[in-house]
């Protein structure tokens, strides 16, 4: 219970802190809206003009991933710059539990994106968010956000060892969009990509959200997303404790 409270209050605090940044909010709203518009025109131009909800939901998912990858990639570095990393490390809780709320908050911030793309699609293109499973949509999206947050923890713990984490973040945006089937169905990708797609929590999270929106069995995808994400969390926590010990031993915690 105390762990859940820590995660809940930490997530709320970091979400509120991130929501003060005009740049992050505006980027999270404007860029996905343009991407949603592009998806709509592409669908209209192609063979699937009836599947507009998919465009709005897909663009929203892409925005959530962008928020997680850039937010988590810089999570530790940002705490360093703010001078709060030492406090997180000396807190009487595992470091991973202190960082997890940061990465979940980046996923939550991505919800602005989902709301923006759905609202934009409704207002401008008349795409009514007429979901097949509206209630399950409200389950699938938070599950996807929590799953991506845990995946973000693994990324954050890995990126802290790299001096050029930004380069990895920039490079990982399109591959994950592609491999997770956020906008492009996995069926069009070469077969050899399937195993890579299957081990990504983003694939199952995106699948759960698409199934809730367009029809399909949502629960198995939600379960797979959360199971893989839990494994990511465990790996991320191990990595985080290793990094923490190394930084303490070499006295490099506050060095950027």
């Amino acid at each position: 219970m105390r762990v859940l409270r820590l995660i809940g209050i930490g997530t709320l605090m970091h979400f509120k802190t991130m929501s003060r940044g005009l740049f992050e909010i505006a980027t999270g709203l404007i860029v996905p809206i343009i991407q949603a518009t592009m998806a709509v025109y592409l669908l209209r131009a192609g063979d699937e003009p009836q599947n507009m909800v998919k465009a709005a939901v897909g663009a929203g998912l892409m925005g959530i991933w962008s928020s997680v990858i850039f937010g988590s990639g810089g999570a530790i570095q940002r705490q360093r710059w703010q001078g709060t990393l030492e406090m997180m490390v000396i807190a009487p809780r595992p470091l991973a539990l202190s960082v997890l709320p940061v990465t979940i908050a980046t996923g939550l911030q991505g919800l602005y994106t989902m709301a923006a793309t759905l609202g934009w699609g409704w207002l401008l293109f008349g795409i009514v968010p007429d979901f097949s499973h509206p209630l399950l949509f409200l389950v699938a999206v938070p599950a996807c956000v929590i799953g991506l947050g845990m995946f973000g923890l693994l990324l954050a713990s890995t990126f802290v060892l790299m001096r050029n984490a930004n380069a990895v973040c920039n490079t990982l945006e399109y591959p994950i969009w592609l491999l997770s089937g956020m906008l492009v169905p996995l069926t069009v990708l070469p077969d050899w990509t399937n195993p890579f797609a299957a081990i990504l929590p983003t694939t199952w999270g995106a699948r759960a959200v698409h199934e809730a929106a367009s029809g399909g069995a949502v629960w198995p995808s939600v379960a797979a997303c959360l199971a893989i994400s839990a494994a990511c969390f465990a790996a991320g926590a191990l990595m985080m404790s290793y990094v923490e010990r190394r930084a303490r031993a070499s006295a490099t915690l506050a060095l950027s």
Binding site: T37, L42, N170, Y174
Partner: protein
């Protein structure tokens, strides 16, 4: 000429000093290839256009983000590193100094766009006539130059507004939507097509597709000329804005205010 080329190269090395080979390869070479694959597979799934449309379009597009952000950085990073006042104290023409700043980024854009085109051609088995390559390189160079001058316009706006990166990020997305590199322009409403006409890359993308389709360089020269004219137009706008904002910054003593 020395001010433009040597000055531009020195400023590029100074302002781009934070990059490393891994960052360069990851962000500028690998990233655009994945972007190409994403749009190519999306296009296949939707039946919008063939792979060639996306390979050529995304090769042109690959130059845009780099040149646009580079042009923006060429001005706004001077302010960030507190060296803007030194530049403005120079007795030489600031217009030439800043226009020269765009050139290394345009060269970089040409390299990235050519790399993306070659890799895309081999990955997705596209056939490009051997005679088309000279024209294609010329077209990618024109696209890179006009995108870099457009970036300079955005960078000059950064002398006045704090959140210039918000504008740059949004403009990259707008160029993906309106330049015809990923969405066929005939599917866009007339108003959006008209805006696209005045953006960098639009005419270069059309010219590059014609060249890859077997047209001769002479036949695509009008489109290429339009791209160059648009680039020149943005260079003039950037020069005028830099003058105005420099004057305003001096008047309101806000030169180095971040």
């Amino acid at each position: 000429m020395r001010l433009i080329f040597v000055g531009g190269a020195i400023a590029y090395r100074a302002l781009f000093n934070w990059t490393t080979p891994s960052m360069f390869i990851g962000t500028l070479l690998v990233g655009p290839v994945f972007q190409l694959l994403f749009f190519a597979y999306l296009g296949r799934q939707l039946g919008v256009a063939n792979d060639g449309f996306y390979i050529v379009g995304n090769a042109v597009l690959a130059a845009s983000a780099l040149c646009l952000f580079g042009g923006t950085m060429a001005v706004s990073n001077e302010r960030r590193y507190s060296t803007l006042s030194n530049v403005l104290l120079s007795p030489r023409s600031r217009t030439l100094i800043f226009l020269g700043r765009a050139l290394p980024y345009a060269g970089n854009g040409l390299l990235v766009a050519t790399f993306t085109l070659v890799v895309g051609k081999f990955l997705l088995n596209m056939s490009v006539p051997g005679t088309a390559w000279f024209g294609l390189i010329l077209t990618l160079a024109a696209a890179s130059l006009s995108a870099a001058f457009f970036g300079l316009v955005l960078g000059s706006i950064g002398l006045r507004f704090r959140d210039v990166w918000l504008i740059s990020n949004s403009m990259v997305a707008v160029m993906i939507l309106l330049s015809g590199t990923t969405v066929p322009r005939e599917n866009l409403p007339a108003a959006l097509r008209a805006i696209g006409d005045f953006l960098p890359l639009t005419h270069a993308a059309a010219a590059a597709r014609e060249l890859a389709g077997g047209e001769t360089l002479a036949n695509v020269l009008p489109g290429l000329g339009l791209e160059v004219a648009i680039g020149a137009g943005y260079a003039i706008i950037a020069a005028v804005l830099l003058k105005i904002f420099e004057y305003e910054s001096r008047r309101t003593a806000s030169l180095d205010t971040l």
